[in-house]
Protein backbone atom coordinates (compact mmCIF):
# COMPACT_ATOMS: atom_id res chain seq x y z
CA UNK A 1 0.00 0.00 0.00
CA UNK A 2 2.81 2.40 -0.65
CA UNK A 3 1.60 4.42 -3.57
CA UNK A 4 -1.68 4.48 -5.40
CA UNK A 5 -1.87 2.99 -8.88
CA UNK A 6 -2.20 5.44 -11.68
CA UNK A 7 -4.29 4.52 -14.66
CA UNK A 8 -2.86 7.15 -16.93
CA UNK A 9 0.71 5.96 -17.04
CA UNK A 10 0.67 2.18 -16.89
CA UNK A 11 3.79 0.40 -15.85
CA UNK A 12 5.33 -2.43 -17.80
CA UNK A 13 3.74 -5.00 -15.52
CA UNK A 14 0.29 -3.61 -16.13
CA UNK A 15 0.76 -3.60 -19.90
CA UNK A 16 1.96 -7.21 -19.85
CA UNK A 17 -0.94 -8.14 -17.60
CA UNK A 18 -3.46 -6.48 -19.90
CA UNK A 19 -2.10 -8.31 -22.93
CA UNK A 20 -2.04 -11.65 -21.12
CA UNK A 21 -5.50 -11.10 -19.68
CA UNK A 22 -6.96 -10.25 -23.09
CA UNK A 23 -5.38 -13.39 -24.55
CA UNK A 24 -6.68 -15.52 -21.66
CA UNK A 25 -10.25 -14.23 -21.85
CA UNK A 26 -10.36 -14.44 -25.66
CA UNK A 27 -9.01 -17.98 -25.73
CA UNK A 28 -11.40 -19.03 -22.94
CA UNK A 29 -14.32 -17.63 -24.92
CA UNK A 30 -13.15 -19.62 -27.93
CA UNK A 31 -12.94 -22.78 -25.79
CA UNK A 32 -16.57 -22.30 -24.88
CA UNK A 33 -17.84 -21.27 -28.32
CA UNK A 34 -15.77 -23.13 -30.91
CA UNK A 35 -17.52 -25.74 -33.01
CA UNK A 36 -14.60 -28.15 -33.18
CA UNK A 37 -13.63 -30.29 -30.23
CA UNK A 38 -9.91 -30.46 -30.94
CA UNK A 39 -9.76 -26.70 -31.35
CA UNK A 40 -11.33 -26.30 -27.92
CA UNK A 41 -8.47 -28.32 -26.41
CA UNK A 42 -5.89 -26.28 -28.30
CA UNK A 43 -7.43 -22.96 -27.25
CA UNK A 44 -7.31 -24.29 -23.71
CA UNK A 45 -3.52 -24.52 -24.14
CA UNK A 46 -3.46 -20.82 -25.06
CA UNK A 47 -5.51 -19.93 -21.98
CA UNK A 48 -3.27 -21.94 -19.68
CA UNK A 49 -0.18 -20.40 -21.23
CA UNK A 50 -1.51 -16.88 -20.70
CA UNK A 51 -2.34 -17.76 -17.09
CA UNK A 52 1.19 -19.08 -16.61
CA UNK A 53 2.40 -15.71 -17.86
CA UNK A 54 0.15 -14.02 -15.29
CA UNK A 55 1.69 -16.18 -12.56
CA UNK A 56 5.14 -15.14 -13.73
CA UNK A 57 4.14 -11.47 -13.55
CA UNK A 58 2.85 -12.15 -10.02
CA UNK A 59 6.36 -13.54 -9.22
CA UNK A 60 5.02 -17.06 -8.67
CA UNK A 61 7.69 -18.75 -10.77
CA UNK A 62 7.28 -22.25 -9.44
CA UNK A 63 3.50 -22.23 -9.84
CA UNK A 64 3.94 -20.92 -13.40
CA UNK A 65 6.25 -23.74 -14.41
CA UNK A 66 4.10 -26.33 -12.67
CA UNK A 67 1.15 -24.89 -14.59
CA UNK A 68 3.01 -25.38 -17.86
CA UNK A 69 4.12 -28.89 -16.90
CA UNK A 70 0.86 -30.22 -15.46
CA UNK A 71 -1.81 -28.37 -17.39
CA UNK A 72 -0.26 -27.81 -20.79
CA UNK A 73 1.94 -30.88 -20.69
CA UNK A 74 -0.23 -33.47 -19.03
CA UNK A 75 -3.88 -32.51 -18.69
CA UNK A 76 -4.42 -31.19 -22.21
CA UNK A 77 -2.66 -34.23 -23.66
CA UNK A 78 -4.93 -36.45 -21.57
CA UNK A 79 -7.98 -34.52 -22.79
CA UNK A 80 -6.83 -34.93 -26.40
CA UNK A 81 -6.41 -38.65 -25.78
CA UNK A 82 -9.93 -38.68 -24.37
CA UNK A 83 -11.26 -36.93 -27.49
CA UNK A 84 -9.55 -39.47 -29.71
CA UNK A 85 -10.59 -42.48 -27.63
CA UNK A 86 -14.25 -41.49 -27.61
CA UNK A 87 -14.12 -41.09 -31.41
CA UNK A 88 -15.39 -37.56 -31.23
CA UNK A 89 -16.07 -35.86 -34.56
CA UNK A 90 -12.84 -34.19 -35.66
CA UNK A 91 -14.33 -31.63 -38.01
CA UNK A 92 -17.15 -29.22 -37.34
CA UNK A 93 -20.05 -30.64 -35.42
CA UNK A 94 -23.37 -28.95 -35.09
CA UNK A 95 -24.81 -30.46 -31.92
CA UNK A 96 -22.12 -29.42 -29.48
CA UNK A 97 -24.34 -27.10 -27.49
CA UNK A 98 -27.32 -28.16 -25.47
CA UNK A 99 -30.55 -26.21 -25.44
CA UNK A 100 -30.20 -24.29 -22.20
CA UNK A 101 -28.27 -21.41 -23.71
CA UNK A 102 -30.40 -18.53 -22.29
CA UNK A 103 -30.29 -19.97 -18.77
CA UNK A 104 -26.52 -20.42 -19.08
CA UNK A 105 -26.07 -16.85 -20.27
CA UNK A 106 -28.17 -15.63 -17.35
CA UNK A 107 -26.15 -17.64 -14.83
CA UNK A 108 -22.86 -16.50 -16.33
CA UNK A 109 -23.88 -12.84 -16.34
CA UNK A 110 -25.09 -13.06 -12.74
CA UNK A 111 -21.91 -14.84 -11.63
CA UNK A 112 -19.63 -12.39 -13.38
CA UNK A 113 -21.59 -9.36 -12.13
CA UNK A 114 -21.62 -10.50 -8.50
CA UNK A 115 -17.98 -11.57 -8.47
CA UNK A 116 -16.66 -8.49 -10.22
CA UNK A 117 -18.73 -6.17 -8.06
CA UNK A 118 -17.62 -7.82 -4.84
CA UNK A 119 -13.99 -7.96 -5.89
CA UNK A 120 -13.84 -4.38 -7.08
CA UNK A 121 -15.67 -3.16 -4.02
CA UNK A 122 -13.65 -5.21 -1.55
CA UNK A 123 -10.17 -4.73 -2.94
CA UNK A 124 -10.31 -1.27 -4.41
CA UNK A 125 -7.46 0.05 -2.32
CA UNK A 126 -5.41 -3.13 -2.29
CA UNK A 127 -2.20 -2.46 -4.11
CA UNK A 128 0.80 -4.71 -3.77
CA UNK A 129 4.03 -3.41 -5.22
CA UNK A 130 5.76 -6.23 -7.03
CA UNK A 131 9.16 -7.35 -5.92
CA UNK A 132 11.25 -9.98 -7.60
CA UNK A 133 11.87 -13.45 -6.23
CA UNK A 134 8.72 -14.24 -4.27
CA UNK A 135 7.86 -17.75 -5.30
CA UNK A 136 11.00 -19.56 -6.36
CA UNK A 137 11.17 -23.34 -6.09
CA UNK A 138 13.45 -23.17 -3.06
CA UNK A 139 11.10 -21.02 -1.01
CA UNK A 140 8.05 -23.06 -2.03
CA UNK A 141 9.86 -26.28 -1.13
CA UNK A 142 10.93 -25.08 2.29
CA UNK A 143 7.39 -23.85 2.94
CA UNK A 144 5.91 -27.20 1.88
CA UNK A 145 8.16 -29.23 4.15
CA UNK A 146 7.93 -26.80 7.03
CA UNK A 147 4.24 -25.86 7.21
CA UNK A 148 2.34 -28.08 4.78
CA UNK A 149 3.72 -31.57 5.35
CA UNK A 150 0.42 -33.26 6.21
CA UNK A 151 -1.52 -31.96 3.15
CA UNK A 152 1.45 -32.91 1.00
CA UNK A 153 1.41 -36.49 2.27
CA UNK A 154 -2.37 -36.64 1.92
CA UNK A 155 -1.96 -35.53 -1.70
CA UNK A 156 0.45 -38.34 -2.40
CA UNK A 157 -2.08 -40.85 -1.06
CA UNK A 158 -4.76 -39.15 -3.20
CA UNK A 159 -2.60 -39.48 -6.31
CA UNK A 160 -2.07 -43.17 -5.58
CA UNK A 161 -5.81 -43.64 -5.12
CA UNK A 162 -6.52 -41.86 -8.41
CA UNK A 163 -3.97 -44.06 -10.18
CA UNK A 164 -5.48 -47.27 -8.85
CA UNK A 165 -9.00 -46.00 -9.53
CA UNK A 166 -8.19 -45.19 -13.16
CA UNK A 167 -6.64 -48.63 -13.67
CA UNK A 168 -9.61 -50.39 -12.10
CA UNK A 169 -12.07 -48.35 -14.14
CA UNK A 170 -10.35 -48.83 -17.47
CA UNK A 171 -9.55 -52.53 -17.26
CA UNK A 172 -12.42 -54.63 -18.44
CA UNK A 173 -11.35 -57.87 -16.81
CA UNK A 174 -11.64 -56.49 -13.27
CA UNK A 175 -15.25 -56.42 -12.21
CA UNK A 176 -16.71 -55.37 -8.91
CA UNK A 177 -19.26 -57.43 -7.11
CA UNK A 178 -22.01 -54.94 -7.91
Amino acid sequence: MTDAPSYLSPTGQEIVFLLLGAVAVGAALLVVTTRQLVHAALWLVVTFGALAGCYLVLTAEFVAWVQVLIYVGAIVVLLLFGIMLTRAPIGRSADLDSGNRPAAALVALATAAVLVTVVVDGFRTAYAPLRAGGGSAGEIGSSVFRNWVLPFEALSVLLLAALIGAIVLSRTDIRGRG
Binding site: L29, L37, L51, A60, I70, F81, A104, A105, V116
Partner: protein
Amino acid sequence: MTTHYLVLSALLFAIGAVGVLIRRNAIVVFMCVELMLNACNLAFVTFARQHGNLDGQLIAFFVMVVAAAEVVVGLAIIVMIFRTRRSASVDDANLLKY
Protein backbone atom coordinates in the same frame (compact mmCIF):
# COMPACT_ATOMS: atom_id res chain seq x y z
CA MET B 1 -3.15 -3.76 -9.53
CA THR B 2 -4.30 -6.89 -7.74
CA THR B 3 -7.92 -5.99 -8.44
CA HIS B 4 -7.28 -6.51 -12.14
CA TYR B 5 -6.11 -10.04 -11.53
CA LEU B 6 -9.17 -10.77 -9.40
CA VAL B 7 -11.46 -9.38 -12.10
CA LEU B 8 -9.71 -11.56 -14.70
CA SER B 9 -10.18 -14.53 -12.40
CA ALA B 10 -13.89 -13.78 -11.98
CA LEU B 11 -14.35 -13.45 -15.76
CA LEU B 12 -12.59 -16.75 -16.44
CA PHE B 13 -14.73 -18.42 -13.77
CA ALA B 14 -17.91 -17.12 -15.39
CA ILE B 15 -16.76 -18.28 -18.84
CA GLY B 16 -16.00 -21.72 -17.44
CA ALA B 17 -19.41 -21.84 -15.77
CA VAL B 18 -21.23 -21.00 -18.99
CA GLY B 19 -19.19 -23.66 -20.77
CA VAL B 20 -20.20 -26.29 -18.23
CA LEU B 21 -23.81 -25.29 -18.69
CA ILE B 22 -24.03 -25.16 -22.48
CA ARG B 23 -21.61 -27.80 -23.73
CA ARG B 24 -22.87 -31.27 -24.49
CA ASN B 25 -19.68 -33.28 -24.89
CA ALA B 26 -18.41 -34.54 -21.55
CA ILE B 27 -14.78 -33.84 -22.38
CA VAL B 28 -15.48 -30.20 -23.20
CA VAL B 29 -17.39 -29.95 -19.92
CA PHE B 30 -14.20 -31.22 -18.33
CA MET B 31 -12.16 -28.53 -20.05
CA CYS B 32 -14.51 -25.87 -18.70
CA VAL B 33 -14.17 -27.28 -15.18
CA GLU B 34 -10.40 -26.98 -15.61
CA LEU B 35 -10.93 -23.37 -16.68
CA MET B 36 -12.84 -22.67 -13.47
CA LEU B 37 -10.13 -24.34 -11.38
CA ASN B 38 -7.55 -22.18 -13.11
CA ALA B 39 -9.54 -19.06 -12.33
CA CYS B 40 -9.52 -20.03 -8.65
CA ASN B 41 -5.78 -20.67 -8.85
CA LEU B 42 -5.24 -17.19 -10.24
CA ALA B 43 -7.21 -15.73 -7.33
CA PHE B 44 -5.13 -17.76 -4.84
CA VAL B 45 -1.85 -16.62 -6.36
CA THR B 46 -3.08 -13.03 -6.43
CA PHE B 47 -3.99 -13.15 -2.74
CA ALA B 48 -0.61 -14.69 -1.97
CA ARG B 49 1.01 -11.81 -3.80
CA GLN B 50 -1.17 -9.28 -2.05
CA HIS B 51 -0.52 -10.56 1.46
CA GLY B 52 3.12 -11.29 0.84
CA ASN B 53 3.21 -14.92 1.94
CA LEU B 54 3.45 -18.18 0.07
CA ASP B 55 0.40 -20.05 1.33
CA GLY B 56 -1.80 -19.05 -1.60
CA GLN B 57 0.78 -20.29 -4.09
CA LEU B 58 1.00 -23.59 -2.23
CA ILE B 59 -2.77 -24.02 -2.32
CA ALA B 60 -2.72 -23.28 -6.06
CA PHE B 61 -0.08 -26.00 -6.41
CA PHE B 62 -2.24 -28.44 -4.45
CA VAL B 63 -5.26 -27.55 -6.56
CA MET B 64 -3.29 -28.39 -9.69
CA VAL B 65 -2.35 -31.81 -8.30
CA VAL B 66 -5.96 -32.55 -7.33
CA ALA B 67 -7.08 -31.38 -10.79
CA ALA B 68 -4.66 -33.81 -12.40
CA ALA B 69 -6.04 -36.67 -10.32
CA GLU B 70 -9.58 -35.58 -11.15
CA VAL B 71 -8.87 -35.55 -14.89
CA VAL B 72 -7.37 -39.05 -14.75
CA VAL B 73 -10.35 -40.59 -12.96
CA GLY B 74 -12.90 -38.53 -14.90
CA LEU B 75 -11.49 -39.48 -18.28
CA ALA B 76 -11.47 -43.13 -17.25
CA ILE B 77 -15.14 -42.81 -16.35
CA ILE B 78 -15.96 -41.01 -19.63
CA VAL B 79 -14.16 -43.64 -21.70
CA MET B 80 -16.01 -46.38 -19.83
CA ILE B 81 -19.37 -44.69 -20.43
CA PHE B 82 -18.41 -44.39 -24.08
CA ARG B 83 -17.65 -48.12 -24.19
CA THR B 84 -21.07 -49.08 -22.90
CA ARG B 85 -23.17 -46.36 -24.54
CA ARG B 86 -21.15 -45.44 -27.68
CA SER B 87 -21.56 -41.76 -26.86
CA ALA B 88 -19.65 -39.14 -24.90
CA SER B 89 -22.56 -36.76 -24.60
CA VAL B 90 -23.74 -35.80 -21.15
CA ASP B 91 -27.34 -35.86 -22.35
CA ASP B 92 -27.12 -39.56 -23.13
CA ALA B 93 -25.72 -40.42 -19.70
CA ASN B 94 -28.78 -39.30 -17.81
CA LEU B 95 -29.46 -42.57 -16.02
CA LEU B 96 -27.53 -43.74 -13.01
CA LYS B 97 -28.26 -47.39 -13.71
CA TYR B 98 -29.05 -49.69 -16.68
